[in-house]
């Protein structure tokens, strides 16, 4: 009898929990559904970054959930790009770069000595500010990631190339030109190709460092559209200077200023009801 009582209580507690979530869901709209319930995929614990004597990031704590879009906003030099590049260790090549604290991806400490950086970057892909396709054919651009990871199965590579190009909605535009140089594509197509190239190795996370700042509005819209689809399969972290873009595409937004994480919350909250004055000033364009 005692056992049964405990089980019943537990059951009721769980039920209560679910009901609370349901209430929360009704408040939240569209893409923000259930985000708190998702699995944590990136976790930063007290991250400090130094370039020599200059401190670029000051004690950042932040968690990012799976299958969400997180936007990093803030004025130039606030550390948002630096922080983004910590997730795939692209800062390793910078002189005097020094990181203190811990970053966990899938519960692995990525700044641990024994981590294989190449394996990490396979899981955490990156798209850069300026489209940077390799000076090779379109096909080779997408296949490159697979080849460097030792995949030799030609049919698999071809399948992945087609699938990745379809995923970025580029397939219809280039299916007859796969052997042509990627440099012949337009800027927007090049950037989508760069995204396809990243998708081909099937990462879990895609980092985007101002991916549309070099593109025209139509290409930008196409890529934003793409992000909604990609979110179903990947976790996306995007740095952007475009506030409307952050508001449009992201579930969560983090505002950085002078190396501090000022505020991190649901995008809707940040843009409608920020808790910090600095955030308010920045998003209304009073500075930055």
């Amino acid at each position: 009898m005692v056992w049964r009582f405990i089980i019943e209580t537990n059951g009721r507690k769980k039920l209560n929990g679910k009901m609370q979530v349901l209430e929360k869901q009704q408040i939240m709209t569209g893409s923000q559904k259930l985000i708190e319930e998702k699995k944590t995929i990136i976790e930063a614990r007290d991250v400090n970054v130094f370039y020599g004597h200059f401190q670029a990031l000051k004690g950042i704590n932040l968690t990012i959930k799976e299958n969400s879009v997180t936007a990093f906003i803030g004025p130039s030099g606030c550390g948002k790009s630096t922080f983004l590049r910590c997730f795939n260790r692209m800062n390793d090549y910078i002189d005097e770069f020094c990181l203190d604290g811990e970053i966990l991806i899938d519960n692995n400490k990525i700044y641990w000595n024994k981590i294989v950086v190449e394996e990490l970057r396979k899981e955490v892909g990156m798209v850069f500010q300026k489209p940077n396709p390799f000076p090779k054919t379109i096909f080779e651009n997408v296949a490159y990631g697979l080849k460097i990871h030792g995949i030799k199965d030609k049919t698999y590579i071809e399948e992945q190339v087609v699938k990745s190009l379809k995923d970025v909605a580029l397939w219809d535009e280039v299916k007859d030109d796969l052997k042509k140089s990627a440099l012949a594509l337009s800027g927007g197509q090049q950037q989508r190709l760069c995204i396809a190239r990243t998708l081909a190795v099937e990462p879990k996370i895609i980092l985007m460092d101002e991916p549309t700042s070099a593109l025209d509005p139509i290409s930008t819209a196409k890529i934003e559209e793409l992000l909604f689809d990609l979110k179903q399969k990947y976790t996306i972290v995007i740095v952007t200077h475009n506030m409307q873009q952050a508001a449009r595409i992201s579930d969560k937004t983090a505002f950085f200023y002078m190396g501090d994480l000022i505020e991190y919350d649901d995008t809707k909250t940040i843009f409608t009801n920020p808790k910090q004055e600095k955030t308010q000033n920045y998003i209304t364009g009073r500075f930055g």
Binding site: N88, M90, Y93, D95, E118, E119, L120, R121, K122, G125, M126, F128, K130, N132, P133, F134, P135, Y144, G145, K147, I148, H149, L183, C194, R197, T198, V201
Partner: protein, 285 residues
């Protein structure tokens, strides 16, 4: 005179000065070629190219010297290319920031400034004597390879530097190792520049005389070399030998040989320029 007019005058004056500077070298080269062509052009025929050297000027040919030059160039290229490019890649991609790399860099610049006769003496001591190669083509090639290494290293670095870092970033961000990035992206994108540097370096090696004399290239070699261990002579030494004879007929031979040597050099430079242009057209960032 108004200020604008004055400025325009100075502008034009400098333009004329610049044209004169540019033409200076070209005019001298033109005079040289004209002079030599006048003396030697009629002497060139198939016999001149395929004949062995002789004490009689009209029977003498450049066959042994030409073959010696071809052998030397071929082996020098084979030796200098991998070593020079390898060193260039190391300095540019791997050892960029260390004090050790800095030290190496300064000394490679120093090497480029060492007079070629010193390389000859070095080659004599190391390759001819210590490695017991004798006055062979191999010893000569190693010596010349040493001589042109700094040029290849510097031009390789320049070519690698011209590859935008965004390409390397993209490769690395996909999980490529450093070597994968160099092999698959940086080198293919810069190979035109690298090869141009190598060809120019080798076309410089064609004209080198002093180090080869020291190493033991002979003025008179009765037969064309058939293996890397044979003794040899090269075109510049043959020319020097003919010029130093008193008879006028040998001077004609020398002029004819100079024309052929120049032709080879121009051809190699032409190939280098062709590839550079082709490469520049192909890749626009």
């Amino acid at each position: 005179m108004t200020n604008a007019l004055k400025n325009k005058l100075i502008d034009n004056a400098f333009k004329v000065f610049g044209i004169i500077c540019t033409l200076f070298g070209l005019v001298i080269l033109g005079i040289l070629i004209f002079n030599i062509a006048e003396v030697g052009l009629t002497r060139i025929d198939w016999n001149f190219i395929t004949s062995l050297p002789s004490r009689k000027a009209e029977k003498a040919g450049i066959y042994t010297a030409l073959m010696g030059t071809v052998w030397i160039l071929f082996l020098t290229a084979i030796i200098a290319f991998p070593i020079g490019v390898g060193a260039g890649i190391y300095l540019e991609e791997y050892g960029k920031k260390s004090k050790w790399a800095n030290f190496l860099e300064i000394n490679i610049s120093n090497l480029a400034g060492v007079p070629s006769i010193i390389y000859g003496l070095l080659g004599l001591e190391i390759f001819v004597r210590a490695f017991n190669m004798g006055g062979s083509i191999l010893a000569g090639s190693f010596t010349l390879a040493l001589l042109i290494l700094p040029i290849i290293i510097v031009s390789t670095r320049e070519a690698l530097k011209a590859v935008p870092s965004s390409i390397k970033d993209a490769s690395v961000a996909l999980g490529a190792s450093k070597w994968q990035t160099i092999w698959n992206q940086t080198l293919p994108a810069s190979i035109g520049g690298v090869l141009t540097g190598v060809i120019l370096a080798i076309s410089r090696a064609i004209g080198e005389t002093a180090p080869l004399i020291v190493v033991g290239a002979l003025a008179y070699v009765p037969f064309a070399p058939s293996s890397p261990m044979d003794e040899f002579t090269v075109m510049p030494i043959q020319i020097f030998n003919w010029v130093s004879r008193p008879q006028h007929e040998f001077a004609v031979n020398a002029a004819a040989a100079i024309i052929i040597l120049l032709l080879i050099t121009f051809m190699m430079n032409g190939v280098a320029v062709y590839y550079r242009n082709k490469w520049q057209k192909k890749i626009k960032w």
